[in-house]
Amino acid sequence: MKPRGSDVEDLLRSLAPQVLGVLLRRHQAFDLCEDAVQEALLSAAMDWPAKGIPDSPRAWLITVATRRLIDEVRGERSRREREDRLAFGAPPAELSRFPGDGRPPDRDDTLALLLLCCHPSLTPPSQIALTLRAVGGLTSAEIASAFFVPEATMAQRVSRAKKRIRDAGATFSMPPAGEVDERIRAVCHVLYLIFNEGYTATAGDRVNRVDLTLEALRLARDLHRLRPGDGEISGLLALMLLTEARRAARVDSAGELVSLADQNRSRWDRAVIDEGVALVTEALAGGPAGPYQVQAAIAAVHDEAASAEETDWPQILALYELLDRIAPNPMAAVNRALAVAMVQGPHAGLRLLDTLAGDDRVARHHRMYAMRGHLLELAGSPGEAREAFGEAARRTASLPEKRYLRARAERC
């Protein structure tokens, strides 16, 4: 029986980092190995749906990718004698068989690869592009369409990122133990950015476009599987799950945004919420809380309330105060104003917003105006609330948010 295209795709995506890891351990040159693996994945995507999945798909990919790599190096060699960039560890005869057959996949390859793709010498957009390609197994065309940029631009980002990694002298190996935690934080941030980018209000075309939210979740699950004891990775995965669980309720039938308070909670995904709550509960019990864990805990309190009225606001306020102590951030303070308002009254929330007026990072941000509008509405000042919502609508570049904020202004 012929395999379904989506089965082949899932298999290829999960094998991509393993195959790249094997090539990198043998041949070092990240840029050439990554290109060779992409070509092998493309060959498989064309061949396997028609001819069937080979008995050892991982070995098939390693063999094909290694052949591509050798072809590329020979071409380069004849052009400009740069073979010294590759240190071939295996004799050619071995390369023509199925290397890697029967060996269990090395779990650490994916982690080392994630750390390399999120190398500190790269800008966030380059880290994102490289992570989705080398670890996620996506093509440049798929990544380009997910970010609405031309394919040539995304291809440039990937090749530039690989060149930077080479120039920085970064190698495919785990960094010193003292640096691992910090480098993992960078990976978490990249996955968070990917999730955020995919967090669209409109339903979107899931068939023809890669869903970045699900992609970030998949990578966060991988990372959690590799480092189950890292509380911040658990926190990040929990935050994604507890946010994703509300997806179906986040837009109405017309595709417009619905605020948390107005969402139909029967449409929340209980199984996903339970998974997220269990993850964050375990992580918080494990040691000092990090910012992702606290944000996940805040999401969990919202998700566990049977109705908006039953939300445990004092607990949410306590969590925001904890977040402010461990990772002060003016945008989190804007959100904290809502918790303050729900516990101590809208005027207390507005006073907190006033203290942020001198902070350039948020003072003119649309979320500051939106929060002010909401609290002014609660305080019984519809005229000022309307003005604030209108200002917020003008300042956001997100179309769904713009429509939502305009509707709020009209309702005041």
Binding site: V149, T153, R160, F195, A201, G204, L399
Partner: protein
């Protein structure tokens, strides 16, 4: 985040550059385009024709009427624009400041609306 950077000018202004300055500026713009296309931040850069070649289309009662010239009455017109995809507004402004004509006249930077949202 995507931004459009717009450069305005008029015939008098462009003609006021001595030929060697203009040639230098053009090669600087070429280098600017290459540099930022290579980093994957410049999505595209385009120069527009003279305002004499612009046309404005209005449809009234289902009938399109085409008139010569731009719609907006202005002393300066859009002469070129480029599209950026960067990770912050700060970065967009830094790139705009690198654009050679920012030192002569000005570069206007506008955010482009998008469909994605943020975790609220």
């Amino acid at each position: 985040m995507k931004y459009i950077a717009i450069i305005y000018g008029n015939k008098e202004m462009w003609q006021s550059f001595p030929p060697d300055v203009a040639a230098k500026a053009i090669s600087e713009v070429d280098a600017f385009n290459r540099r930022h296309a290579e980093s994957g931040e410049l999505l595209g850069a385009y120069g527009l024709g003279d305002e004499l070649t612009a046309r404005t289309v209005r449809v009234r009662n289902g009938v399109p009427a085409v008139t010569d010239g731009p719609y907006v009455e202005a002393k300066e017109f859009v002469s070129s624009f480029f599209l950026l995809d960067v990770d912050s507004e700060r970065r967009a402004l830094d790139i705009a400041a690198e654009y050679p004509f920012a030192a002569h006249n000005a570069v206007e930077v506008w955010p482009i609306l998008h469909e994605s949202g943020e975790i609220a």
